[in-house]
Symmetry: C2
Subunit: 273 residues, 2 copies
């Protein structure tokens, strides 16, 4: 394997740029190619079969451009498609669910872990399964919070509307799982609401609930795997970031919100079905 190849990252849209941001902070010498499937976004409301199909399309496309590792930044794609991707690809494949589950285990005090995500992620049971398999006597409950995704894309990150929406969803979680001490943000969009989620959980649960960013957790896994497989880039120069999207609409405005810096190198691509 050529260690100078970039790391491929795909996501249903622009949310995965929060993961790219974390990856580039930890791995400044690595180059990244990012594919956002903005023509078919979102994945979180679609069925497992559709998400697996789109994930394989995306992975094949990135593979054909030459990558040494694949990171699935999308939680819904990670929840449904990791087995299919690992079966087909010979390079390492890293999703966000298992790293997020492990980070939650490391953070929980009483073994009571809540998960929030899209309908697809929550209904897949992937986080619940990944957490339960880590250790005996862990309690898990998951709650879909679908409206946080369009709110983040629309840039409504503060104010009454996101606060009411977060309070409604987390109130449902609290009603049936008041013992949660740790909450996995199981969607790339949710870290944009970190402060709001911290505040709303404090009010609802009456104490601090530890928030876990699965994208950051996956970054640690990527660092570890690069080292173990001897795939670290040998050079000293800063790595590059190439962003490809399947639909350009509003990409510069929305994308930079997630990446945390302006998007400079964006191109449109057609991912074969």
């Amino acid at each position: 394997m050529n260690r100078e190849l970039p790391i491929g990252v795909f996501d249903s849209g622009v949310g995965g740029l929060t993961v790219v941001r974390a990856l580039r902070e930890s791995l400044p010498r690595e180059s990244f190619v990012y594919l956002g499937d903005t023509a078919r976004v979102p994945y979180g409301t679609k069925s497992p079969a559709t998400v697996v199909r789109y994930s394989l399309n995306n992975a094949r496309f990135l593979l054909s451009s030459g990558i040494k590792m694949l990171v699935v930044a999308c939680n819904t794609a990670s929840a449904h498609a990791i087995p299919a991707l690992q079966k087909e690809l010979s390079i390492p494949v890293v999703g966000v669910v298992e790293p997020g589950a492990r980070a939650a285990l490391a953070a929980t005090r009483d073994g009571c872990i809540g998960v929030i995500g899209t309908y697809g992620t929550v209904e897949s049971g992937a986080y619940q399964k990944a957490i339960s398999e880590l250790r005996d006597r862990l309690e898990v409950a998951a709650e879909p919070c679908p409206l946080l995704v369009p709110l983040a894309e629309e840039g409504w990150l503060t104010g009454d509307v996101p606060r009411l929406v977060a309070s409604e969803y987390l109130g449902r979680l609290h009603a049936r799982f008041p013992q949660a001490d740790t909450l996995v943000m199981g969607c790339t969009h949710y870290p944009l609401f970190r402060e709001l989620l911290a505040d709303v959980t404090l009010r609802l649960f009456g104490r601090e609930v530890v928030l876990i960013d699965s994208g950051v957790a996956a970054t640690a896994e990527v660092v570890h795997l690069l080292r173990r497989r001897e795939l670290e880039h040998p050079g000293e120069a800063p790595g590059t970031l190439r962003v490809m999207v399947t639909d350009r609409s509003r990409i510069e405005q929305v994308g930079s919100r997630f990446l945390g810096e302006p998007l400079t190198d964006v191109s449109s691509v057609d991912v074969p079905a």
Copy 2:
């Protein structure tokens, strides 16, 4: 043309079932085949090129199943793709934008028409153009209200959140176009908020603003065209409704909200790209 063939209707997802509902009320003897492109929904945040491509895919698919007329229920697809569809198809094609524009003209007192829709619909300028071309001295302003779509799909039709969201968007419209006396609901999802929109516009504008349902307006156009082209179904028996979707996820729950009755005949299909 075989008058016994069904009328084809496509939409980006389930929102177009509000149009089917109006069509079936006006045309009880006609049969309908509905294609909801739920695997690629929404169209409203995507670029014109992508929406035209998806619209042609959908139209070809419906055409191959045998239809006598095509109704484009999706406002965004109507805004971008009607010329391309009319060029390719030999059967009549009816969108929702031109009928909506004509209904607004019929309703306006002072010639001041507001339009709300998705980013795609508003940025296309299709409604603005269609209205302006109808008559001299009409004033038009349009405002995107993207968050109303996921709110409708999530079933949050009443309460603080939709009220705050509608007030924010319509407040922006009011700030630059306080003279509006008529408002076109230029998205299939918005009629689900009719009462809320009536109330919020009353508060903001200080008087009643007439709300126009483009889907209902398109229905009148379909009735007229069937008669003029002598395409009315000759039978007396009630027509049927066949619903096809490209992704089944949550279709029964969400779809019946838009159709106004339970969805009974739903199948999954693969629309070739």
